[in-house]
Symmetry: C2
Subunit: 396 residues, 2 copies
Amino acid sequence: MINERMAELGKERSVIREIFEYGNKLKSEIGEDKVFDFSLGNPSIKPPQEVQKTLENLIKTESPIALHGYTSAQGAASVRMAVADSINNRFAVGITPDDIYMTCGAAASLTISLSALCNDGDEVIILAPYFPEYKVFIKNARAIPVEVKVSSNDFQIDADALERAITEKTKAIIINSPNNPSGAVLNENSIKTICKILLNAQNKYNNPIYIIADEPYRELVYGAKVPYIMNHYDNTLVCYSYSKSLSLPGERIGYIAVSPKSADKNSVYAAVCGAGRSQGFVCAPSLFQKLVERCTDAVADIEEYKKNRDLIYNALCEYGYEPIKPDGAFYLFVKSPEKDAKSFCDKAKKYGILIVPSDSFGVEGYFRLSYCVDYGKIERSLPLFKKLIEESKQYE
Amino acid sequence: MINERMAELGKERSVIREIFEYGNKLKSEIGEDKVFDFSLGNPSIKPPQEVQKTLENLIKTESPIALHGYTSAQGAASVRMAVADSINNRFAVGITPDDIYMTCGAAASLTISLSALCNDGDEVIILAPYFPEYKVFIKNARAIPVEVKVSSNDFQIDADALERAITEKTKAIIINSPNNPSGAVLNENSIKTICKILLNAQNKYNNPIYIIADEPYRELVYGAKVPYIMNHYDNTLVCYSYSKSLSLPGERIGYIAVSPKSADKNSVYAAVCGAGRSQGFVCAPSLFQKLVERCTDAVADIEEYKKNRDLIYNALCEYGYEPIKPDGAFYLFVKSPEKDAKSFCDKAKKYGILIVPSDSFGVEGYFRLSYCVDYGKIERSLPLFKKLIEESKQYE
């Protein structure tokens, strides 16, 4: 009688959230120190000092009526100007404030972009492994997710697989680099390959195909270079969030940047505005808009993540696990020592270790571990990871 | 090629926003003191002192990682507990934290509730005059808005009109009291009449019909009593926002409360969670969730709005206008001195007066004036309102 699809979505919840909630319950039962929750991508490092100071300052000195008032639906002009300047300074793409639409975070950026671009029944390609909510967001726009696996040896693009997946109904492809859950960064070669295939398909079907670049982890890289898609492909929308770069995941602040070179750019931008309006995003939270204006280029101290990565990566290798060495984000994607990753992750629970089986990311036989947790916690978990793989080997 | 409906929505924008943006442009051209912008419901009074102090305090003393981190999708448990307590203390409806879902403000509350309840082609009744975005939000849920005019003499319910509008496809009715744009409060008699008609229709069609109570203005009343719908009708969802009560419209914080007596309550709540997830609302902004937990019952000083109301209402009456005396909110709904309200509002622009013609609210022949502006500004506008009606009378 009500919308059963929504009730289903609400009941099942995401696998990741499910494990996170289980972890909270477990903590209250057996004590926080005995639970090692590697399930959720909840940043564990403080926002940059600049953020803290700017917040205090804004609240103390600005008129609260202006500070907390509505902004224009697409975001305050001064905020969009700061964002556009920051993008141009780094990537020289000639973007203007009128190409920027401020959002309530990356998820909102995605649902709005998808609804703006897609008509019922359009196809949207996602590269597996992928963030599981992509499928939910694509279906929200009444479009159809089409999965393409990346190459399993280096997690770069599989050109043949991508070519095979494109049809006349392909409206967009979501590229997420650095990737959640694998931590892999698509190198320039992969990006060029993708763009070439899309250009050919655009010509063949005489229809624009858009790249939706989901980039919340752009700033979280350990030496790797992340190509800026707009410099390689015109029909691009960048979905950004400050959740990770400024360590403010709960505050829901990000943006959509429409490439000034997009075909029919004004209509695409208008559709973004229309989709935001339609879904009830009146404006992005105003205090954090004004914060972003003043801290556009600040980045949380990712050295801590790098230390965490090195600690857990090296230890797991030593114990006999086979993790993908991540170039970015704060996830480690590890081959499951047992064929059935779900059953392995269930075994891990007995040790208080919460990790996510890869099935919901669109590939089998891996688990994901978020290492955005306390260093000491990782240290204390290591003997348990060792026992866990030893136990698994007994059953081989 | 892209979604044309979204592009249309983005291009047309709302009539109200359009006038607001025009006002900003005009201000930069002829000077802020010469523009009298009564177009937008942007609160003009400060947040309560408690809000300011709590914000300063949270930022100074709480761990930033916890303060700005993700919360559960439905909102932090402690926040939902505070909200449930506040509702129970005032209305004794026996609501629990698990009936509360924190949102990014009233618009999000509405789009989520509508998507949770409606299937494609369901009908949703709205009472004219109505907030124009209701139609956009209903269509977002792929449902059909059905308009029912309230009684034009007292702006209470027209029972016959409501009965005629209900069909077997009716899924919900949106009730907005105090009302935007009229400022009218539906009295207990009207609420009882509505509930009786809905109960009969539920029995007739053997289908639940939900009341969606959109209540951002509940706290903004000048003596009138606003019945709490859950005490009159079981299948009720309350959509609340702290935008007006705490004067934080840009911060996007509110909630959905599902009546614990709703038919199939658990599924309704799950569908709310599913719809929020589907549209990319990961969680309501975390800092403002924690603020709400500590300031649940604070209310901005509405005496200022009352002073504004009395000033503008009395003056317009004196000049020969015929406004509806508002019991709540901060809007004055005034009969247009010319039959064509649009042309009258265009005339007003010449005086720098920005008011909204009533056509987009679903009724003809009125204009809406938001009196949530500076008292001095209203005072200075009065001679212009006088000239405006005198000019109009010349053309009669």
